[in-house]
């Protein structure tokens, strides 16, 4: 029987007083599974039906009490996992990077020999997926979307030119695959997923790491730099992110679920989680702009000087006044429920 592994991304939150968390006191801080992870588990479950595979959810995290681990096993079981592997250690408390989390992934890969190893969209995927693929000599498939039936499953991803894509028939691949998922929302909520109710929980020992290890340190911000702590973006609540240069008009407070990055550098964080990323491209930008690999759709306002010769995933041209474009799009997303996936 084939095995499928899914890396689990967590973020901490308060337990709801009347939530389904028997055992921990109300208000206790419990780790919660990200929406992107639910999406990855849902995709893994669909493929598991096709392959007759066992789905393993892998949690690599800082120290957690047993009730919290049992809670995770219940949540992940409902989300689609058959078994939950947990490695809990202080070394895993901070930003997931290959130096600290890679050995855990290697250990799990040796233990279960997964045919597919999924990473949900997020910071962990950006750091961990490619090194694991190299270690396993696997096919590496980032930015993936999945379509599965009981007889077949396909993986697809857009190429940077936005005029083509790569498609893989999963049954025809003769080696392991490491799949970094595109961002997406699960069809079912985490609490009412279609997976088996009780996932088997197994606790793994943290492997010995040899040699010096990269570690996170807090350093004073350089006064000449604009870095430092930023207000966190509520990515779990964002359904559409708009990447707009500063020439596309100002917008006040964006409506709920819409996040606007008005920055000519299109600087977006590594862990983009929202399902739709929309890029506004103005007339001064050559095609294709560097931002496109991060975007799901591009709206060319007042059309660039060089138009794309072929269509792509979603490319739209719109003859509008640049200053009016962004406010109009934000308004349409706020008023039209079809704009929310």
């Amino acid at each position: 029987m084939a095995n499928i592994a899914v890396y689990v991304d967590l973020h901490a939150t308060r337990a709801a007083p009347d939530g389904d968390f028997p055992g921990p006191a109300a208000g206790a801080e419990l780790p919660m599974v990200t929406g992107a992870t639910h999406y990855a588990l849902e995709s893994a479950r669909e493929i598991a039906h096709c392959l007759g595979a066992t789905v393993y959810a892998l949690v690599a995290t800082g120290p957690l009490a047993l009730p919290a681990l049992e809670h995770l096993a219940r949540v992940l079981g409902r989300a689609g996992a058959d078994r939950v592997l947990v490695c809990s250690d202080p070394a895993l408390s901070d930003l997931p990077i290959h130096a600290t989390h890679g050995p855990v992934l290697s250990m799990v890969a040796q233990k279960i020999s997964p045919r597919l190893f999924f990473f949900p969209a997020g910071a962990a995927s950006a750091q961990l997926a490619a090194p694991l693929a190299a270690e396993l000599q696997a096919m590496f498939f980032p930015g993936a979307t999945v379509s599965a039936t009981k007889d077949q499953f396909l993986l697809a991803r857009a190429r940077p030119d936005w005029n083509s894509r790569r498609v893989v028939d999963g049954l025809a691949v003769g080696r392991a695959m490491v799949v970094a998922m595109a961002s997406g929302r699960p069809r079912a909520s985490g609490a009412t997923g279609t997976g088996p109710a009780d996932a088997e929980l197994e606790i793994l020992s943290f492997p010995t790491i040899e040699g010096p290890v990269a570690r996170t340190t807090s350093l004073p911000a350089d006064p000449a730099d604009d870095g430092g702590e930023r207000a966190p973006v509520p990515w779990e609540e964002v359904h559409t992110m708009i990447l707009a240069g500063d020439r596309h008009g100002a917008v006040g407070a964006a409506p709920p679920g819409v996040w606007v990055v008005a920055d000519d550098g299109y600087r977006i964080p590594a862990d983009v989680l929202c399902p739709t990323t929309l890029a506004l491209v103005g007339s001064s930008v050559a095609w294709p702009p560097a931002v496109l690999p991060a975007a799901d759709a591009a709206v060319l306002v007042c059309t660039p000087k060089k138009l794309p010769s072929r269509g792509s995933g979603i490319t739209m041209t719109w003859k509008a006044e640049p200053e009016a474009a962004l406010p109009a799009i934000v308004g349409a997303l706020a008023n039209d429920p079809r704009g929310r996936p």
């Binding site: 290959h98 190299a134 991803r157 190429r159």
Partner: protein, 228 residues
């Protein structure tokens, strides 16, 4: 300290150019070396390195690299990096052609070096054995001490930083390295499957819209499950 910047050929993409730009912010104690691997000599990649004041520029050239997968290309690059004597390798997070970002991690594994992705700034620490690297997430900017030698990738969105003045007055010649010269038998890198999947090109033209409402409807109407 020798810093190798791996440049995809023939034309470097945005994140590769960001890596080259970031390399120029490193201190005066660093020597920049541009490295590219391709099936044919030439291309803009190493010209960009020379323009960015790299002290050396090297090219691994062999026809077998044309159909290789990311693992074979990483093997070739790692051997060249050993030959050049690097302490730090900077690469773009994703390439312009396929955009997988697989090669840097594979290069790090071949070398047995530390690996960190999406470093937006890199500074050499007080000691010679560490680099300070900033990584941006949605929650914060984390600064990490990374032991050297290391492979660090740079995203296209990395801020430009302050460039150091380099006084290379003579542009370097491009050193051509064959696979055999760097200790690799070309036959070992021949691959039948580039591990990319089937290429499907989209047809049609961009959709013309006349309002934001049309745009919202077009996005909502796309195939469920993602792009295209």
């Amino acid at each position: 300290m020798n810093v190798v910047i791996c440049l995809e050929g023939p034309v470097p993409g945005a994140s590769t150019r960001a890596a080259l730009t970031l390399a120029q912010t490193l201190g005066r104690g660093t020597t920049l070396i541009g490295l590219s691997a391709t099936e044919a000599a030439g291309g803009e990649a190493l010209q960009a390195a020379i323009g960015a004041r790299c002290a050396r520029a090297a090219l691994v050239s062999d026809p077998v690299l044309q159909n290789g997968d990311y693992l074979s290309l990483a093997t070739a690059l790692a051997a060249a990096i050993r030959r050049l004597g690097a302490d730090l390798v900077l690469m773009g997070t994703t390439g312009a052609s396929e955009g997988t970002g697989a090669i840097p991690a594979a290069v790090a594994r071949e070398l047995g070096w530390a690996y960190l992705a999406r470093g937006e700034s890199v500074r050499v620490a007080d000691g010679p054995d560490e680099a300070l690297v900033e990584v941006r997430t949605s929650q914060r900017i984390a600064t990490l001490r990374v032991p050297l030698p290391a492979v660090i990738t740079v995203p296209s969105s990395a801020p430009p930083g302050r460039r150091r003045t380099r006084t290379n007055l003579t542009p370097p010649d491009i050193e051509i390295l064959t696979l055999r010269e760097i200790g690799i038998d070309p036959a070992e890198l021949r691959r039948n499957d580039p591990l990319l999947g089937e290429l499907q090109e989209w047809s049609g033209k961009p959709t013309s819209i006349s309002s934001a409402q049309e745009m919202v409807a077009a996005i909502a109407a796309r195939t469920p499950g993602g792009r295209g």
